[in-house]
Symmetry: C2
Subunit: 231 residues, 2 copies
């Protein structure tokens, strides 16, 4: 049975990606990062999702002691929908700039570790749930970046040199949030176990970018978010 490493964050997108990889017939090995996120909610969600999908998971602790992102700095504020609308703070949906939640080289680091894991266990693919539409402010979520990374695999790894490079598969890359939710719905993704909010409160804040896009996606997909998000 062909193997894949799946980057699992605990959010909605990576959960859909995991179920898409399973649907494609891969035996999935989930890679969950503990990288000093502001809260542990999404890590716990990721573990739960891996369990529900009956997949092995590997939790990997890495750190960014140099910070450099609002997502890593408990004191920094993340961009909220309301602050974008008021124009008080630069929100990427308004300005097209890279958002404060950008973590320098995050997906490059994630993919590098996933690549090492994949080569070590003989997996032929890595699945990552990045997509361009909502988060076009993140440079490491774009098609160009993944294309460049594939060339790194070809030139810089054993699997590449031996002409069987580990594939980097981005099943959601051109999908809208609503499209991702529709796909997840068809695949039986346990949406209620995923966590999207940037904050780690008991309930999602409902105002951060991530909550906003999630709610908008469910609305556009015409699937009731109340049924699909554990509160």
């Amino acid at each position: 049975m062909k193997k894949a490493v799946v980057l699992l964050s605990g959010g909605l997108d990576s959960a859909v990606t995991l179920f898409a990889a399973k649907k494609q017939g891969f035996k999935c090995f989930c890679l969950i990062f503990d990288y000093g996120q502001r809260h542990k909610k999404e890590i716990n969600a990721a573990k739960k999702i891996a369990g529900l999908a009956r997949c092995h998971y590997q939790l990997l602790k890495i750190s960014f002691p140099w910070k450099g992102s609002a997502l890593l700095d408990k004191k920094a504020s993340v961009v909220t929908r309301s602050s974008c609308l008021s124009g008080r703070q630069a929100g990427h949906r308004v300005t097209g700039k890279i958002p404060a939640t950008y973590v320098p080289a995050r997906n490059i680091i994630f993919l590098s570790h996933a690549l090492s894991y994949a080569e070590a266990i003989g997996a032929s693919a890595i699945f990552i749930g990045a997509h361009t539409e909502d988060y076009s402010g993140y440079p490491d979520c774009r098609t160009d970046f993944f294309q460049a990374f594939r060339k790194v695999v070809i030139s810089g790894t054993k699997s590449g040199v031996e002409k069987r490079p580990v594939k980097i598969i981005t099943p959601l890359i051109n999908k809208s949030k609503a499209g991702i939710i529709r796909l997840g719905y068809r695949l039986g993704v346990p949406f209620s176990s995923t966590w999207s909010c940037y904050h780690g409160g008991r309930n999602p804040c409902g105002t951060c970018d991530s909550c906003y896009f999630r709610a908008k996606g469910f609305r556009e997909a015409r699937i009731s978010p109340e049924d699909k998000y554990e509160r």
Copy 2:
């Protein structure tokens, strides 16, 4: 003053690289990885070298829980010069194959973290002491790989998108070991504080690939190894 992140392993090559970066006028921030090497000798050497060069260093702990390399597995044997010569074991110098000491995606992981560090502190370059001659068995030490990684920086990072990509500088890439040693000698590199041996004994083993190439390099550079390697 322009800043650079320098990957420092404790070996001879990265020490020469650090001094070359300083010579080019960079304020250097050394990045030292604790990645579960078979011994701590090279980490201690790296700290000492950073101190001697009067540079800040950042020690970063990462792990490869999936192993996949003789360098990470205390039970696996690394390829020795004698085993190569006798033909009992496949040595990359003899067969051209990737050696048992290959760590899947190691330099990709190292560069990714260095890139994150560089962006966070506003460094304009990363220095890495890879070179192709002796270790052509490692795919992530070759020019093609670094060229591909530069494209990842351009497409996948904030500095790249903003048209000031962090540079990946490989000052030793086409040098022989003897050439590296000659350069280091001119730059005043404290060779005796570096550690090359794959094993962590009190003294270098003298038989592993790394010891062999080091001794050969000093011989060819006509610099006495005895004066340059603390025993």
